[in-house]
């Protein structure tokens, strides 16, 4: 009797401490989850906060005199007339006239406010509307990246630490006061390739490069991955060779991606002497990298098809190949597609192997096919993040937002496919 009482006393004595331990343990769990989630939130707010301004660019309103004599256009019908025309000079004269500058040094400082790309945009616009020639018109012209950084910092009240002189700032304040500065949607960002000038740099080239790379990856890795999965699930005899293949696939799935880059460099570029920087080689390397993922998910999808379906097909006289082609594969297809999309999302975000095979080149032209030199979106992000110009920070963040947007769409598609098409048996 006394010993039983002492046991319950012991338990009761410790109970409060044990409950506190329980609470603490639970709290650690909640804190861990919250830590993970807050990292996610901080990451996204940081990127979005830095990048949302990258989608707009600052423009300066100027009345440009487009007299054909000054431009050097004798006959607008001649093919190269606009190519050699001096639109840059016209813009400069308009700038000097607007701000009454005559001093040579001041002129140079003033020229730095307008992007070097503005004259090309103006040229293209006049080429499209030749009736603008020989008269004065107002145009919104792209400002230099320093102006862009300054103008965007005016609203946000964060201190401006750019490379503008006091004189330049005074001019800009004059323009701003009279409403001749504005921010507009940055179409250059979505339509052009890379550039040394931040305000002229766009992600279209990199996006196309990524598209071609992922296309090659998809076209190669999906059929090969599915075929390998079918072999391993339906055909492979249980022997050491099959075991070896299985162990291999599982190990390859965890090999660092940079090793695949080394493989691509040694095999495709050094041995087969393929050109560097092309999406075809990038696609080949990423194919080898994503194959294990696709094989593993395809095997899971094939495994999920119940054996009764196979037995029914075989029982009705189908051959093994017919059973696989007509019954197992169509039923497993949603699962395999989901796996393939997730594999492609992985390939789209991959950077390191592409660095190895030289897809870090500075490419201004938009690539037109798998054999053109190109970069990829993540590589472009890496290149911009390394650039010293401050204005590239917001471009980088904006490019990251675009990349994350694509990844989000692909994953959403995968989830939708799974919800929509997958059957539970």
């Amino acid at each position: 009797m006394t010993s039983a009482e002492s046991t319950i006393e012991k338990v009761n004595k410790n109970l409060a401490r044990r409950y506190r331990a329980e609470q603490r343990f639970r709290l650690y769990g909640i804190l861990s989850v919250l830590f993970g989630l807050s990292c996610l939130v901080v990451l996204f707010t940081d990127i979005i906060g830095k990048g949302y301004k990258g989608f707009v660019s600052t423009e300066i309103y100027l009345t440009v005199d487009l007299s054909s004599d000054d431009l050097g256009i004798s006959d607008p019908e001649v093919e190269n007339a606009f190519m050699q025309a001096d639109f840059e000079g016209a813009i400069k004269r308009a700038l000097y006239a607007r701000l009454d500058v005559t001093d040579r040094r001041a002129k140079r400082a003033l020229n730095a406010l307008i992007s070097s790309g503005a004259s090309y945009a103006l040229r293209d616009q006049v080429k499209r509307q030749p009736e603008l020639l020989d008269s004065s018109h107002g145009f919104w012209l792209l400002a230099d990246d320093d102006v862009d950084t300054w103008y965007k910092s005016v609203d946000s009240k964060s201190p401006f630490t750019g490379r503008l002189s006091d004189e330049q700032l005074t001019w800009l304040q004059t323009l701003d006061f009279s409403g001749e500065l504005r921010t507009a949607l940055n179409t250059t960002f979505f339509t052009s390739g890379d550039s040394r000038e931040p305000e002229m740099a766009g992600i279209m080239g990199a996006a196309l490069g990524s598209f071609f790379t992922v296309l090659v990856t998809l076209l190669l890795s999906f059929p090969i991955g599915v075929a390998a999965a079918v072999y391993l699930e339906e055909y492979a005899p249980k022997n050491r060779w099959t075991d070896l293949i299985e162990v291999n696939i599982n190990n390859l799935a965890a090999v660092p991606s940079i090793i695949f880059g080394l493989l691509g460099l040694a095999i495709f570029i050094n041995f087969f002497e393929m050109p560097r920087s092309i999406p075809l080689v990038g696609g080949l390397v990423l194919t080898l990298m994503t194959l294990p993922t696709i094989i593993i998910s395809s095997r899971a999808a094939i495994k999920a098809v119940p054996p009764s379906i196979r037995e029914a097909a075989l029982g009705l006289g189908a051959s093994k190949m017919q059973m696989v082609m007509h019954h197992v594969l169509p039923l497993a297809m949603p699962g395999m597609l989901t796996g393939a999309i997730i594999g492609m999302a992985q390939a789209l975000g991959e950077t390191a192997p592409l660095l190895m095979i030289g897809m870090v080149a500075f490419v201004v032209d938009l690539p037109g096919g798998v054999m053109d030199a190109a970069t990829a979106l993540p590589v472009q992000i890496f290149l911009w993040a390394d650039s010293p110009e401050r204005a590239f920070v917001e471009k980088t963040s904006a490019a990251i937002m675009v990349l994350l947007g694509f990844l989000f769409l692909m994953n959403a598609l995968a989830v939708w496919l799974r919800r929509r098409l997958e059957r539970r048996w």
Partner: protein, 437 residues
């Protein structure tokens, strides 16, 4: 079909008509494709050989690299990239013959492949007969194709091992493996001139591995407790609806491209850590190992948590029930019953996460330093194996300098390390799974 009708309809064929067509198509396409592939592999060498034969004996006696330069000039003239004015007559003649050979080569390739296709087609066509077991033959071909696809995984591994090993052996011919493995100096710049200062070229990989270990260790210190506790909370405590929302959210962290983490580490986390360190009066590098390690840890959290979640969920409910019935609190059950039972799986998951951290490239390339230093201070800048591979190989490089080859030797070490970790991890996980399934 005509033949089948003469003997009594499609039902008396050995296979469905589709398979006869398929077999004929295979006969048409396969031999032609194989020949085309082999042709493509060898024609460049053959053409080069022909052009060299056209050059004078002097040119043929040149060393390999100068001959290559000469051939390059020839092909540039032939393609019109280089103006033919002022070039030696010999080269012009060679360029002309190169153009001629290339045209012949293209025509010959097209001719051979087409005629092979037609021959194959005719052969396949002639074999078509009601008794022919076409389906079996087609299926044999397809099953070989399936086998070949599954062997690609092995080929990839062999390719990795061979390519990395081959270049590494070349590297070890100029640098002793002993110096590479145990040397504590890393400065891969090779001297351009003999008297150049500070470019001796030292290839001791110890500082690189120390840096890799330091950053990975910081990452694991963040990821393992957080990931494990998050997995425990989600698997044992959280309401089903909470779990359904939080788990995918956490897994977003694993889906974010590493280059994004690198940008975040370099531009946001590193300055914060530097300012914090300076405000405490500590000398902090702006490329501190801590910044890269912390961000890498955040990236790895979902790997640890989802693997741990899987093994914790696999622990049979009866174990928990038994422990709870004896009066243990939930946390005591988890700590003393569930975790020990799940331990092998958790260890496997942690090892996999460690191998992921060691092989991670973009975060460290963007946020860690380049100078190889032997230090255990997380506030200093260190460099890692992957950073060095990238810096050695990005840009143009030739394949015979020790600098380039050193990258492959580092790659070999990295591959062996991660492979060993993965192998142990997969083995541990597999062995554990067999106990409860």
């Amino acid at each position: 079909m005509l033949q089948s009708q003469s003997i009594g309809g499609a039902s008396s064929l050995a296979s469905l008509p589709f398979y006869y067509g398929m077999l004929t198509a295979l006969w048409c396409a396969l031999p032609a494709l194989v020949v085309l592939g082999v042709w493509q592999l060898f024609d460049a060498n053959l053409i080069e050989w022909f052009v060299i034969a056209k050059l004078s004996a002097d040119a043929q006696a040149l060393p390999a690299d100068e001959l290559g330069l000469l051939l390059n000039t020839v092909s540039n003239i032939a393609q019109g990239h280089l103006s033919s004015d002022g070039q030696p007559a010999e080269l012009l003649a060679a360029a002309e013959s190169l153009t001629a050979i290339q045209t012949t080569n293209r025509l010959a390739a097209t001719g051979v492949v087409l005629s092979l296709g037609i021959l194959g087609l005719m052969f396949g066509w002639s074999k078509v007969a009601p008794q022919l077991r076409a389906r079996q033959k087609v299926e044999t071909v397809f099953s070989w194709f399936l086998l070949a696809c599954s062997c690609l995984a092995i080929l990839t591994t062999v390719g990795i091992v061979l390519s990395v090993l081959f270049e590494s052996l070349q590297f070890f011919r100029s640098v002793s493996p002993f110096e590479f493995l145990f040397g504590t100096q890393w400065s891969p710049q090779m001297a351009m001139r003999a008297d150049q200062v500070g470019s001796s070229g030292a290839f001791g990989s110890v500082p690189l591995f120390a840096g890799t270990m330091l950053i990975s260790l910081i990452a694991m210190v963040v990821a393992v407790p957080v990931g494990l506790m998050a997995a425990i909370y989600l698997a044992e405590y959280a309401h089903r609806q909470v779990r359904a929302v939080v788990k995918p959210l956490l897994e977003i962290l694993a889906g974010i491209p590493t280059v994004v983490y690198g940008f975040f580490a370099a531009l946001t986390v590193a300055p914060v850590i530097r300012d914090l360190g300076l405000s405490f009066g500590l000398a902090t590098s702006s490329e501190s190992a801590l910044a890269a390690g912390l961000v890498m840890g955040v990236m790895i959290i979902p790997f640890v948590s989802s693997l741990a979640d899987d093994v914790i969920s696999a622990v049979p409910q009866s174990l928990r029930d038994g422990s709870l019935a004896l009066g243990a609190t939930q946390s005591e059950t988890i700590k003393q019953v569930v975790l020990p039972a799940a331990l092998p799986g958790v260890v496997g998951g942690v090892l996999l996460a460690a191998s992921r951290a060691i092989g991670e490239t973009m975060i460290v390339v963007m946020a860690a330093g380049l100078a190889a230093k032997l230090t255990a201070n997380p506030l200093e800048s260190v460099t890692t194996v992957t950073v060095q591979i990238v810096t050695l190989l990005v840009g143009d490089q030739e394949f015979d300098s020790p600098k380039t080859l050193a990258a492959f030797a580092l790659g070999l070490m990295l591959f062996v390390t991660t492979l060993a970790l993965n192998f142990v991890a997969l083995h541990v996980v597999k062995k554990y799974r067999e106990q409860y399934d």
